[in-house]
């Protein structure tokens, strides 16, 4: 039964180019092996057809996880343990992190790779429903070059896939746009560990005003390849979520899957449980709409340009707004405030000057530059203590402002929230003594504080 090691050749190329050139060698067919959690099981049982194996377990090019502005690129050689231990994946792609924890047991997770899970092409592959739900793409590489294939088009039938003999999966790319989504994953198996799934679900959805704005439901082990429930998703889209809608979606989902009877379960059981799992997901969505309805969740999900435009009201530098948008998704208020401070530290003088121009003079209503409506409203609030001043102080402030502008060529910036006009006047007179470099630095610090206060107001709106 057991295979005879004398009948198997094996090589371990040192880097990716060497591996790819072996895959193109005429007349030889090398089968890649990474963690061996599938192939070595076949080998042990005497069922491994491949006789020439190429170890790719240690190719450094395949193990990296790169966090880019709009996607996370996970090297195909990343192990399930790597996925579970990566903070960005745990935070932004919890469906994938959870699925990695479903695989076999700790020792299997230490060896098995996400690329291996994909090419093994089992309909029960634990990570696959998550990849499908996220709309992941695969980067395939060969000596001929690279190409990107949506994961949803990669598995074309039972154990069939869109992968040429000379190609390897180099990376799995998952978009970073699900911060405002409720994410829900469930595996049904005979036990928590070491069980092939009877059914696995990965689903996520975003709500808007009580209606389902975007929903993605994927399932494993219910068809020859992992499947998205396109009909059920279409049925839910745009409708307001309630008990009747959930019941309808559950029924539709149970009818949409194409399960079979096998040693692990029956088709009837699988279809019934699919309906229950979809209902469970939607009930959670109904119960936690606030998790999806926050300002931050909505902003995290916007297109970059829109996100920058909205946050510009908090600080009028376009460079600041662009960089804030690029740092999304941001997890919470603390992360937003920290991001703002970090971005402020990188701004150039002209960025600061642009931010200053979005403020009206203390005691006036209209900014020099066209400021967003929200910015003007906040300016009025911030300066409310100052505007309650007596006529004499008002006149002194107006005169101080003019002197400041003559001296520095721009308006006087101060974080006015909570300060009386007398206090502001004292600060203004002191700052008039500054040299230009010091004054720019102090103005920038005031602007940074204003941004912090406005970000808090914006998030709590």
């Amino acid at each position: 039964m057991r295979s005879n090691p004398a009948e198997f050749e094996m090589v371990a190329p040192a880097d990716l180019p060497s591996a790819l050139s072996l895959l193109t060698a005429a007349g030889e067919r090398w089968t890649p092996i990474a963690g061996g959690t599938d192939l070595m099981v076949q080998y042990a049982a005497g069922h491994l057809h491949a006789r020439r194996l190429m170890s790719i377990a240690r190719l450094p090019e395949l193990r990296r996880v790169e966090v880019l502005a709009d996607e996370i690129q996970i090297g195909a050689g990343a192990t399930y343990t790597d996925l579970r231990g990566n903070e960005t994946i745990a935070r932004e792609l919890p469906l994938l992190a959870q699925a990695a924890g479903w695989v076999g047991c700790i020792s299997n997770q230490n060896r098995g790779t996400i690329g291996g899970n994909i090419v093994n092409a089992s309909p029960a592959g634990d990570s696959l429903p998550a990849l499908l739900a996220y709309g992941a793409e695969l980067i395939l590489v060969s000596a001929r070059g690279e190409r990107r294939v949506p994961y949803g088009k990669f598995h074309t039938g039972y154990k069939k896939m869109e992968l040429a003999e000379d190609e390897l999966i180099r990376a799995v790319c998952v978009p970073r746009k699900f911060a405002g989504y409720l994410q829900h994953a469930r595996k049904i198996g005979t036990r928590n560990a070491q069980a092939v799934s009877k059914i696995a679900l990965a689903a996520l959805a975003r709500m808007e005003n009580g209606a389902v704005a975007d929903v993605r439901i994927s399932l494993g082990s219910v068809a020859p390849v992992p499947m998205r429930l396109a009909a059920t998703e279409g049925f839910l889209a745009g409708k307001s979520l309630d008990a009747d809608l959930i019941a309808g979606a559950a029924k539709m989902a149970a009818g949409e899957v194409k399960p079979i009877d096998d040693i692990r379960s029956t088709a009837r059981y699988r279809a019934a449980v699919v309906g229950n799992l979809v209902a469970e997901f939607l009930e959670r969505l109904l119960a936690q709409p606030e998790a999806n309805g926050t300002v931050l969740a909505r902003w995290n999900a916007l297109e970059a340009g829109e996100a920058a435009g909205e946050i510009l009201a908090c600080c009028g530098s376009r460079a600041w707004a662009r960089e804030m948008a690029a740092r999304r998704p941001l997890a919470d208020e603390t992360a937003v405030l920290a991001a703002s401070d970090a971005v402020c530290a990188s701004l150039r003088d002209e960025d600061w000057l642009e931010a200053f121009r979005a403020h009206p003079r203390i005691g006036e209503k209209k900014a020099e530059a066209a400021a967003p409506k929200q910015s003007a409203a906040w300016s009025a609030q911030e300066q409310s203590a100052a505007s309650a001043a007596d006529e004499k102080t008002k006149a002194a402030l107006a005169e101080g402002n003019r002197e400041y502008e003559r001296r520095f060529g721009r308006i006087f910036i101060v974080c006015a929230t909570g300060k009386t006009s007398a206090e502001i006047l004292a600060i203004l007179r002191k700052r008039l003594q500054n040299d230009a470099v010091t004054e720019l630095r102090e103005s920038a610090e005031e602007q940074r504080q204003i941004a912090q206060l406005r970000l808090k107001k914006w998030l709590r709106a």
Binding site: A6, F8, N192
Partner: protein, 164 residues
């Protein structure tokens, strides 16, 4: 299937701190090389397919099933078997607790159980019972019924924490 003559070759790796060179077919299992060439029979064979954990070893500090590792993939690695755990204080605490709580009976699963427990405690010094269950879920035992083993690991964690 035609038989093709793969050739044996020298493969060097570190075992329990000592550099070893074995002459083996590259697809021989690390498990067999450890037991048959290096005489390290503390590593057991159970299922031979990565489900039972009896063949657990550390490879570069990480828990793996040696039945699933072609020996060529261990080239240059640092392998630690149950025999090499002796001086490790945490392993000592786990072994003592296994004795005290009746965590070992026939002994086939015990080396793998101890390695899985040490691997868990290195990452989480004060694991919850759920974390202990997860950490040992890849190791099967047909004697104890598991509870004694889980309690032994919890006790070892408490003891190590007290010393730490």
């Amino acid at each position: 299937m035609t038989k093709r003559g793969a050739t044996k070759r020298d493969i060097t790796f570190t075992v329990n701190g000592e550099r070893k060179t074995v002459c083996a077919f590259p697809m021989e299992r690390l498990l067999d090389v450890l037991r048959e060439q290096l005489g390290l029979t503390g590593t057991k064979e159970g299922c031979g397919e990565g489900e039972c954990g009896a063949c657990s070893v550390f490879m570069d500090g990480v828990l793996v099933d040696s039945c699933l590792v072609p020996v060529l993939q261990a080239e240059g690695a640092s392998v630690v078997t149950i025999e090499g755990l002796g001086a490790d204080a945490r392993a000592r605490a786990v072994q003592d607790a296994f004795l005290e709580y009746g965590g070992a009976q026939c002994g086939i699963c015990t080396p793998g159980m101890v390695l899985a427990a040490v691997h868990l405690l290195r990452a989480k010094s004060a694991p919850t019972m759920d974390e202990i269950r997860e950490g040992l879920a890849g190791n099967l035992c047909r004697c104890t019924g598991y509870l004694q083993i889980l309690e032994a690991v919890a006790a070892a964690a408490r003891k190590s924490a007290g010393q730490g």
